[in-house]
Subunit: 350 residues, 2 copies
DNA sequence: ACTGGCACTCTTTATGTTAGAGTGCCAGTC
DNA sequence: GACTGGCACTCTAACATAAAGAGTGCCAGT
């Protein structure tokens, strides 16, 4: 009830925590009472500040690396800061337009994703990361087959507007160009416009049926289609990063050995994908501070993500990875706006 | 003439230089006379070794970081070592088969190139780099057009065996599917099987002619073709790297700031591409030691490359980047064999 | 409730100091 | 003449010590 209760902070204490965090973000150094007394515009002496800081420390919001070194916000303190004290910097309209323009210059998804990643890393000076759009809800437009040598066939899959996937499939015998054309026609006629996942299901259903009776054409079509749609095309490397090297400039991360592990994780991408995957299910900006991500290697890093949508349906997640002391006030709106603009760009094309 | 002449080294001095370099490669530490006396199996005292080392130093082959620190081979010394003293380690046949198998598991060029890069970095524990095959000499197999919204058209270009390039082109009016089909047929009939560069030339020639008289179909075909073949499709990011993080484990490179620059250069790739481009024109293994590459950022790095060929025609270059003290005896055969196997794999597929 | 003052702690930086590695040179040996 | 052992010398790396600076906690006073 009272503003002195254990887990409620007085107005002033909040203001001081806020000032402390902001000061800390500038250079990552512990901030002392004198310093803080100046930064916060309160007209109190350092001694008073010290008392407050002692309180904040006992609440676990700040800690000192050693006896005489000022205070550093703990992850918990940062969490409180972003949850309750953060004032988001408003973003320049011109900058938004710049971002928009960048996306409008390109048309294919791959390039767009890469651009988004570079944009994030460039604007925040952190590492940018974009998960490529889920292929769900992609409609099949067109299938084409080209015979290669032996019994191998190149299948070209055109989905939606401008995605083209191609894969080589090996069949149990050689097919003539005419036969392939027939099969393609059949598939195009039957499935053109249908959702990819629908197609896969239909193929499987048809397989059941086909065991018993099926004419030649259908048999072939099903055989091929099974292979072509086997996997939700484009499952592979589904996250794109940029600006990893930006992280080297932060002293707190530049321990050569941790850096190695971090970069190794970036290359593996496994854990990053998994983390981003979780963000898919949550709406809006998502922030993981330090170990909140649950991944060892990201121990000293924070991750800020936002999902992006096409047609009101979330199809992917993007964000940045940086030290826990990143400027959340600047980063958050950038991530936010980039997500919106990328979504819009993916929507409008075609 | 005599083996004491200024630029000729006695047998023993060569042996000692060789031993010194090999010793140095182990840990990158300067090697002292006592140490070296032991490593080389010559039955001479450290004092004698010291005399020899003084000679080597005056020839510029070794140098000491400071008065009492043993000797380190200079780049010139490493160059001499590589040119005259190096005994290449013979490579395990089983290992060759392993490499071969890895490539046979995949079929498309992109994946192959990525595999090669990872293979190089994995086997050498350095950074692997592969320049993607030049598209020259790729025959056009098939062209396909798909109408998008407005006057935009998705062009699909199938070359050779399994390469598929696609690009969106914007035309000056909307075309019906039938028209597009017509044009595609025309182009396929006329150019299928022709070399891409031939096609481009023909298009340009035809443009000249077309200015005067041309029927409707040809006019359209030429207009589209001009856009489609505008650039030698796949010009973009033409080098693939892997294992950059391996370089972090070398003390001599792990100055955080140099590392930053190095990694930035890897991301830019501009200079790497340029360097590899030079190697395209030279036959066989190419070695740049330290500043021989002419690129500032690669100052403390060596680059070992080998071109790879398809159909006896050089189409690309691959190699590794590592500290100047890399184990050339192990690295060289690995680069060599990988180039051969990659060439063979690209050749045999299809 | 806030402040100034003060003793205390801990880091950082500078300054020695020492041990060890390695050299260069010289005088002696085969 | 080529090689060796010995020795003085140099330089670094590692450790100890000292001083300076930053910051704290606490207390007594306003």
């Amino acid at each position: 009830m009272s503003d002195k209760s254990q887990n409620e902070l007085s107005e002033r204490n909040q203001a001081l925590l806020k000032a402390l965090v902001q000061q800390y973000m500038l250079d990552g150094q512990p901030v002392g009472s004198k310093n803080l007394a100046q930064a916060a515009n309160l007209k109190v002496s350092p001694a008073t500040i010290r008392n407050v800081m002692a309180d904040l420390e006992s609440l676990g919001l700040v800690s000192s690396p050693h006896t005489s070194a000022g205070r550093v916000p703990t992850n918990q303190g940062l969490r409180f800061f972003v949850d309750s004290l953060l004032t988001i910097e408003h973003i320049n309209q011109k900058k938004i337009n710049d971002i928009r323009d960048t996306f409008e210059a390109v048309s294919d998804t791959q390039t767009m994703v890469a651009s988004a990643s570079e944009m994030l890393s460039g604007l925040t000076r952190l590492a940018g990361v974009v998960m490529v759009p889920r292929s769900q809800r992609t409609a099949l437009r067109h299938v084409e087959f080209l015979p290669l040598s032996d019994s191998r066939v190149l299948a070209i899959l055109v989905t939606n507007e401008q995605e083209v996937h191609n894969r080589v499939i090996t069949l149990n015998r050689q097919y003539s160009e005419a036969e392939l054309q027939q099969v393609a026609n059949y598939l195009n006629e039957k499935f053109s416009g249908a959702d990819i996942s629908t197609v896969r299901q239909s193929i499987i259903d048809e397989m059941q049926l086909a065991r018993e009776n099926m004419d030649n054409l259908m048999a072939r079509a099903v055989e091929m289609a099974e292979k072509v749609f086997e996997e939700p095309a484009g499952q592979e490397d589904s996250v794109v990063m940029a600006g990893e090297t930006n992280l080297m400039q932060f002293k707190e991360l530049s321990d050569i050995d941790n850096l190695r592990k971090l970069f190794a994780a970036f290359n593996e991408k496994q854990e990053i994908i998994h983390l981003l995957d979780q963000c898919l299910h949550n709406e809006g900006i998502q922030i993981y501070i330090g170990d909140e991500s649950g991944y060892q290697v990201l121990g000293d890093c924070s991750v800020v993500t936002a999902p992006y949508s096409v047609d009101n349906q979330v199809v992917g997640v993007l964000g940045v990875i940086g030290p826990t002391r990143m400027s959340y006030d600047k980063v958050i709106p950038i991530v936010d706006i980039t997500a919106k603009v990328l979504g819009a760009a993916l929507n409008s094309r075609g």
